[in-house]
């Protein structure tokens, strides 16, 4: 192997890593909104699946990527309302309702796929947009500045989410209802409403994460398209300590490992493909085991709120 070849491989891995981080970023930052308000939504993967299907179906039939994205957002919102209704209004156990939501998403997307599409087809989704000037820089331009809009959006979401969570009055409410809902309630904050909004923001972002797979990164839909990426996103929230920047590093770590294993397969390096596919998941477990004791989760995570209980 000569130097040029090595450089291009590294650049290729990094480019893929940036692309592959996209769904993790949307889904995990969305989940952070939800969890900071005290609601664990384990149904992220299910929301991603239905939204991925919906946006793909719309693009397949109308050819409009924007209508496709809108479909993902609407479906995400509906799933979010469902999750919020079950866990906030009905105060059901969040872990169980999340798993339920996941199974619902998995089953429904698979059923709809079989009945309305049938076989694996492809669409023309979001296309790479080369950023003027920056995109022309050799290597660097290729790695960072020749992606689709949804990829750029995922990375812009990091500072945006940080700003909303840390610098706005709503962000303060969001944090307080996850830490001590009774205190927030006693100051006139509507705990249920803040949680509804937080869960719905999370679900909409999960929806966009799904769309980023089916109409931007892969441009196809098949059964269980996400292959558990929604669950990794949930793990990333813990890994990132409920902070957008922490999540960014986590997402990049996982996507880099993923890109690395994909490229190794492409290049025909002799590692069993099963092992290679397992790599990111093993990393999830290892990273969680290392970080889990370090970070403090929201004190009221997983706890429904009822006035007058303290």
């Amino acid at each position: 192997m000569n130097d040029v070849f090595q450089l291009s491989v590294v650049a290729g891995i990094l480019t893929s890593a940036i692309r592959l981080a996209t769904p993790y970023l949307y889904a995990a930052i969305g989940e952070a909104f939800s969890q900071r308000s005290g609601v664990v939504n384990l149904g992220v993967d299910g929301i991603m699946l239905i939204s991925a299907y919906a946006s793909f179906y719309i693009v397949l039939n109308t050819g409009s990527i924007w209508l496709g994205l809108l479909a993902a957002i609407v479906v995400g919102l509906l799933m979010g309302l469902l999750m919020a209704f079950i866990s906030v209004t009905l105060k059901a156990e969040q872990g169980i309702s999340g798993i339920g939501l996941y199974m619902f998403g998995l089953g429904l997307s698979s059923l709809l796929f079989k009945t309305t599409i049938g076989t694996v087809k492809t669409v023309t989704g979001f296309q790479p947009v080369k950023i003027p000037l920056l995109g022309d820089i050799p290597v660097v331009g290729e790695i960072f500045f020749q992606h689709s809009l949804l990829v750029y959006g995922a990375f812009l979401l990091v500072p945006l989410a940080w700003f909303v969570l840390e610098k706005t009055t709503w962000g303060l409410k969001n944090k307080s209802v996850g830490q001590n809902p009774a205190a927030a309630d006693s100051l006139g904050v509507n705990v249920d409403r803040v949680r509804y909004v937080s869960v719905c923001i999370g679900a909409i972002l999960a929806g966009i994460a799904g769309a980023s797979l089916s109409i931007s990164l892969l441009n196809l839909f098949q059964d269980n398209l996400t292959a558990g990426q929604g669950f990794i996103a949930v793990a990333l929230v813990y890994f990132g300590g409920w902070k957008p920047v922490g999540i960014l590093w986590g997402a990049l770590l996982f996507s880099t490992v993923n890109a690395f294993q994909l490229w190794m397969q492409v290049l025909g390096v002799k590692i069993p493909s099963d092992v290679a596919i397992m790599l990111p998941y093993l990393l999830t477990i290892a990273a969680l085991a290392i970080t889990i004791n370090r970070v403090r989760q929201p004190a009221a995570l997983n706890k429904p709120f009822e006035r007058g209980e303290s």
């Binding site: 706005t168 962000g171 307080s176 001590n180 927030a184 100051l187 006139g188 904050v189 007058g308």
Partner: protein, 518 residues
Amino acid sequence: MAHGVPTNEKQQIQRVEMCNITKCFPGVLANDRVCFDVNQGEVHALLGENGAGKSTLMRQLYGLYRPDEGEILINGRPYTFNSPADAIEVGIGMIHQHFMLVPTMTVAENVALGLKSSREPMLDLDKVSARIRELSQLYGSIIDPSAYVWQLSVGEQQRVEIIKALYRGASLIILDEPTAVLTPQEVNDLFVTLKRMVKDGHTLIFISHKLHEVMAISNRVTVLRDGCLIGTRLTSEVTRNELVKMMVGRDVRQLNPQPLKSGPVRLEIQGLQAMGDRGTEALRGINLQIHGGEIVGLAGVSGNGQRELAECLAGVRKTNHGTILMDSVDISFMPLKQRIDSGLAYIPEERMRDGAVREFSVQENVFLHDHASPKYTHGIFLDFARMRVFASELVKNFNVKTPGLDTPIKNLSGGNIQKLIMARELSRQPKVLIAAQPTRGVDIGATEYIHQRLLQQREEGIAIFLISEDLDEICVLSDRIAVLYEGRIMGIVERNEATVEQIGLMMAGISMTEAMQR
């Protein structure tokens, strides 16, 4: 948006009337046609035994609960509060019995929470911080707005609560047992603040179990009992004994324990040393003997090692040095369970945290320790019938107000949870009893009962170590009084040998010989 002085912007609250307020919880009538009123500039105290319905009444005025029946009038106009936001809007603030703060947020964030900012939707913490500095200085010493709440002492946290209310322009402030968690020094500071607030035109509703506080600060007193209004009096026209009678429904006897011939030494502490939570030396060589049939009181300003000493004796804190003997057996290395089995009873200071499981029922909490005792088991099965009889006896004897034995204890009033844990520990017939703040947050009737039980246990030959911040309690009950200061015992005096003032001096670090000469 300058808030804090009630005169600007918001209409001043001249008069609040609560008429025929009735509030039902499953199985309890918490308020039964209660009438209550308060006028601008006055301090109106609310008295009543545990579970009398004081917090419930005030929570309705603050919009946390809706009355089932009755009316709330402010300046003569009827109001319906759907949430605290509505009450805050008209200028009502509340300092809750259990603080409503987010420990992981800063003081400024806690104050700003739920308020409109001047740069909506962005926070304006700088402005909020400036105002907090102003307000905190006006009513006491400055509080750092950028400090996290978990870093603050209990007294400081309470000041944050008060600032929260003032910041929102509250002109009527409800204080639900604000002194229950404070040291005597902090109580003095609080009273200075409260008097200042009244002078500035604020109106206060003050809940407490301590009559001398009520007598010292209030203009009028209202007494509730079992959810009913007993009466409202001018403080200047009522005596302590009359108030006690209104609260309890009978006279409370003054205890006057007679000295007993003390038995053999049952608990002996030799050269005990231990670290505090922050890694500092909390106990620097404690030596103490307690005989059977004797109560030794431990006086001292909190934070001088009382809690650490109690925890070392109970076996939940590691000792660095020294031995603990119970009936001449070294128990220094036994874990808590074994100490309990060999005759130690421990009433922890933080009973809510260390002594009870909130989600469990009354009966389950009674049997937290003793569920495996042969008295309540058939082989591997629990004898529920026997347990029930025993639990209901305890509840009856200690007058614990609860809808039933199966009610989760989180639904009991604060004082009633205390009583239940006391009942459990005192029913175990130990050799040595360690009681930390046994009557904190407990009403007068129950305090009397607990004191009687302690004296009764003493007559049965049990060695009792009473740790309390209430000097009156210590002086009434103890045969001997040990004074703790910075992890050392300053001296041990017989009851009646020293005056309260002399003990106070020793608590401040003055040596025993010097204190006794003054």
